[in-house]
């Protein structure tokens, strides 16, 4: 259930980004995209529920949350392999060496916001 505390950081980040927008005004937030690495133990459904609840009454209300998962990748210092890892095993995809260096999969960031002008003009 740490999705709620992560969502709080997400909503704070979105609101502070929206505050900085000078043009166009007024505007409406259509969607926010968050990138989550495969090694992060984040349940997308819970994050979506949290997002719906926690954006209420903020500048991000009624916006969609797009969750983009990126794979866990690794680099093997034994055989030089570089690539995407299967399952939970942090293993080389070629020689099978265990516990290789993670090069991706721990991402957790607000990637972009999509807004549109709101109002008559």
């Amino acid at each position: 259930m740490h999705e709620f505390s992560i969502c709080q950081s997400l909503v704070d980040a979105i609101v502070s980004e929206l505050d900085r927008i000078a043009e166009p005004r007024p505007f409406k937030l259509i969607s926010a995209r968050v990138v989550v690495g495969a090694m992060r133990q984040i349940a997308p459904d819970i994050l979506q529920t949290a997002y719906g609840l926690m954006t209420k009454g903020t500048a991000a209300k009624d916006s969609a949350l797009e969750i983009v998962k990126v794979p866990a990748t690794g680099k093997c210092d034994e055989c030089g392999w570089n690539g995407e890892m299967r399952d939970a095993f942090i293993q080389c995809g070629r020689c099978g060496k265990a516990g290789i260096e993670l090069t991706g999969g721990m991402e957790l960031y607000l990637d972009n916001l999509e807004i549109e002008p709101d109002g008559q003009d």
């Binding site: 259930m1 740490h2 505390s5 992560i6 950081s9 997400l10 704070d12 980040a13 980004e17 927008i21 166009p24 505007f27 259509i30 968050v34 090694m39 992060r40 133990q41 939970a88 095993f89 942090i90 293993q91 060496k97 265990a98 516990g99 290789i100 993670l102 957790l108 960031y109 607000l110 990637d111 972009n112 916001l113 999509e114 807004i115 549109e116 002008p117």
Partner: protein, 221 residues
């Protein structure tokens, strides 16, 4: 009207990371070693600490920060012994965050401490995600759990600096294959030090205590 894309690229762990960095600074200034103990409810974290308190008397000055969702029961267990204990109540949250830990540390007499042990909320998932500024995470797994937990919860078992397998005195009564468990651990982290401990009988405690004193768990004794 045209939609407008705004690139943000903002790390969502930034706020937590800020507090964790402050904690690292505070620990460095005071030369205090801090460990973050993570394991399921009932895996024996508090029993391990109870036994440690007795063994560390006169060797090391240490304090415990007890994280729990509710109640001060664990803190009461430990404060019956001779050690400074603060209770951190997460208030429903499944993990401790850096800010809460930092404030608790500020209240400790760090000048007169060598080690701070944070006993995180009992949970193998969420606490692994949150850096609290510690020198290392210690994963605790009891032999009454499944031996494949390390590959089910790979984040914790890959990030930890050591794994403690507790309650090993119960092994004769269980089907737990401890060597298979160590293999699973090494599948997620090839070089992981694994300590086998029975806090009740004291078996294996020496290596854990030596690790605390030397700030290094890789050495076999």
């Amino acid at each position: 009207m045209a939609k407008i894309d705004i690139k943000v690229y903002k790390d969502l762990m930034g706020e937590n990371e800020k507090w964790a960095a402050k904690t690292r600074e505070l620990l460095r200034e005071n030369d205090v070693y801090m460990l973050n103990i993570i394991g399921s409810p009932g895996c024996g974290k508090t029993a391990l600490l109870e036994n440690s308190v007795r063994r560390l008397e006169g060797k090391l000055r240490f304090a415990v920060l007890e994280g729990d969702v509710e109640t001060t029961r664990d803190a009461e267990r430990l404060s019956a012994l001779d050690v400074t204990v603060y209770q951190l109540i997460s208030g429903g949250a499944c993990h401790l965050e850096a800010k809460l830990v930092h404030h608790a540390l500020r209240d400790l007499d760090l000048d007169n401490l060598d080690v701070v042990i944070v006993e995180n909320v009992g949970n193998l998932v969420c606490p692994a995600e949150f850096d609290i500024g510690e020198h290392g995470k210690i994963a605790v797994l009891s032999v009454t759990e499944g031996e494949d937990k390390p590959i089910k919860y790979p984040l914790l078992f890959s990030k930890a600096i050591a794994v403690i397998l507790t309650k090993t005195d119960l092994l004769p009564h269980l089907n737990f294959d401890i060597d298979a468990c160590e293999d699973y651990i090494r599948q997620v982290n090839a070089g992981m030090p694994v300590l086998r401990v029975a806090a009740v009988t004291g078996e294996g405690m020496d290596r854990w205590i030596a690790g605390l004193v030397e700030r290094n768990f890789a050495k076999r004794i």
